[in-house]
Amino acid sequence: MTTLEFANVSFSYLPKPFIHRMSFSVAEGELVGLMGSNGAGKSTILKLAAGLLSPREGNVMVGKKAIRSYRGKERARHLAYLPQILDLQAPFRVGELVRMGAYPQEGSQALSVEEALQVVGLQGKEKKQLAELSGGERRRAYIAMTLVQGAKVLLLDEPLASLDIKYQFDLYKLLKDIVREKGVTVVMSLHDMGMGALLDRLLLVKEGELIAQGDPAGVLTDELVRDAFDLNESLSVYMTANRFVSRALAVAAPQCQS
């Protein structure tokens, strides 16, 4: 079942057109990666999906409704967005932050604070200040907030940026678990092709256009990647290295592979 759909979406940061008649859909329970060079439009696509930007043409549909037709709290119960730059020094305790996820709820919460902290592996850290956590833990605290929020679609802008390989891997495992066990759909932008190769599906973007989509093996080809990043030289050595990383990660976490 489709949970997120872009139907001929165009957008421009005036006066320059930026996203050109883009169409794609994401099914329920998919872990989808959005890849492309810096400035290709990944963050803009996620902001359009979150309703932070309005398309000039076309529609962004979440469930069966256009995202802009949702009222604030109703939208928040369907969809959560975490920007690339999170306020990692926000003056809150972990528990205070995660409880904010209950703001859009009118009845019972999708998940209690304790359960959400358990899912992201931060049990026992409810009273810690955010500033006392590591970078990876802080991101997980924000993800716990979206779990309490009960959003069925999670949009993450470069959640792996500036994390070392351990935290990247931990976060990947967490997202995979959330997708598998909670039925949440995750769309995330990322640069790391090794990580990209582990996702269910990839969307490759260049200058505001979708140039390829499909399973990682079909998208991360030498030809498509060179085109997306405007590279003249062959990427075979780099791609081989990335395949090693992907394989190593996949072997290290067989339970995470669907």
């Binding site: 979150a50 309703g51 932070l52 604030g72 709290k73 109703e74 939208r75 928040a76 119960r77 969809l79 959560a80 967005y81 975490l82 920007p83 999170l86 306020d87 020094q89 926000a90 003056p91 809150f92 305790r93 528990g95 205070e96 932050l97 409880r99 904010m100 996820g101 703001y103 859009p104 009273k127 200040q129 500033a131 006392e132 924000y142 979206t146 929020q149």
Partner: protein
């Protein structure tokens, strides 16, 4: 949001007890110490006409400034934001000083009313200039406030330079936080605007928490960041305007009290807003009591005393090394 831990209740209880004690001290102290057990007619008159209204207004003003500071630091995501950074005090000062120096005293409350009008007009101008195509953005709002504040301060200096009469001294005292002129007449209107602002802020406390995390997260949590920021800005402006119009410009409290409160109870606005009111009111009440007692019959400005009492404690807390 549930309380982070039981220590919050201890802090709230301790603060409330301290507030009650300081109210008693404030009512009793002054150039002439009042003994509540020997109430003659003179004592009774001093109590009702001077000490009680002064204590009540100090509590109200300090509470309003504490809550305004907590709001503005949240909506601007800036720990240095305070009720005066947005030019509101400059607007109030200019209007009030104009009234004091040029003798515009049509009736008793003309100076507070002028100050209130000046503050609200400045707040409205800051909102109009701070609103861009992306709505009410914190950086733009802050820059608009600072710019208007500097402009009005320059106008104020100009007015003070050309003024020669004794209204100038009153204006300078007023700008340092002068509570010596307060009476019961100020209380109902001030209380109305401060209560209105506080209730508005308290009703938007979840939005304030969400804005502290940034506009994108606030949007993701179902809030309209521009609308929440506007409501909260109106609440802070109403409280600041009412406070400035009652007793002049008292610095320090709006900047530091919210930090002191957060140090002890965390950052949830549900807790921080009411406790900032209690802590701000208590501190100003204590500062005013000290200011009118230690060098009697000379009165020292309450704002100066508040800074002298609060700064060492604030520095001590910073030295503890805990992060906010």
């Amino acid at each position: 949001m549930k309380p982070a831990n039981g220590s919050m209740f201890l802090v709230a209880a301790a603060l409330s007890m301290a507030a009650l004690c300081i109210i008693v001290v404030s009512v009793a102290s002054g150039p002439r110490l009042l003994n509540p057990f020997t109430m003659d007619s003179e004592t009774c008159r001093t109590l009702l006409a001077i000490r009680l209204p002064r204590t009540a207004i100090a509590l109200l003003m300090g509470g309003a400034l504490g809550a305004s500071g907590a709001i503005l630091q949240g909506i601007f995501r800036n720990p240095l934001a305070d009720p005066y950074i947005l030019g509101i005090s400059s607007g109030a000062s200019l209007a009030a000083s104009f009234g004091l120096m040029f003798g515009i005293s049509l009736f008793t409350l003309s100076v507070p009313i002028l100050a209130f009008i000046g503050a609200i007009a400045t707040g409205a101008a800051v909102v109009l200039l701070g609103c861009g195509w992306k709505g009410l953005q914190p950086e733009r709002l802050l820059l608009a406030g600072v710019g208007i504040g500097f402009f009005l301060s320059a106008l104020l200096m100009l007015v003070m330079t050309v003024s020669v009469d004794d209204g100038l001294k009153r204006a300078i005292l007023w700008m340092s936080g002068d509570l010596s002129m307060v009476d019961w007449g100020l209380l109902p209107v001030g209380l109305f605007f401060i209560l209105s602002g506080f209730c508005l802020a308290l009703s938007r406390r979840k939005g304030l928490n969400a804005l502290t995390l940034g506009d994108d997260i606030a949007h993701s949590l179902g809030f309209n960041p521009t609308r929440e920021r506007l409501y909260l800005f109106i609440a802070a402006s109403l409280m600041t305007a009412a406070s400035v119009s009652m007793g002049g410009v008292v610095g320090f409290i709006g900047l530091v009290v919210p930090h002191l409160v957060r140090r002890h109870v965390g950052s949830d606005a549900t807790v921080v807003l009411p406790l900032s009111v209690v802590a701000g009111g208590t501190l100003l009440c204590l500062a005013d009591a000290i200011g009118r007692t230690v060098a009697a019959p000379l009165e020292l400005p309450a704002g100066v005393i508040a800074a002298l009492i609060g700064s060492p404690y604030f520095i001590y807390l910073l030295r503890q090394g805990k992060s906010y």
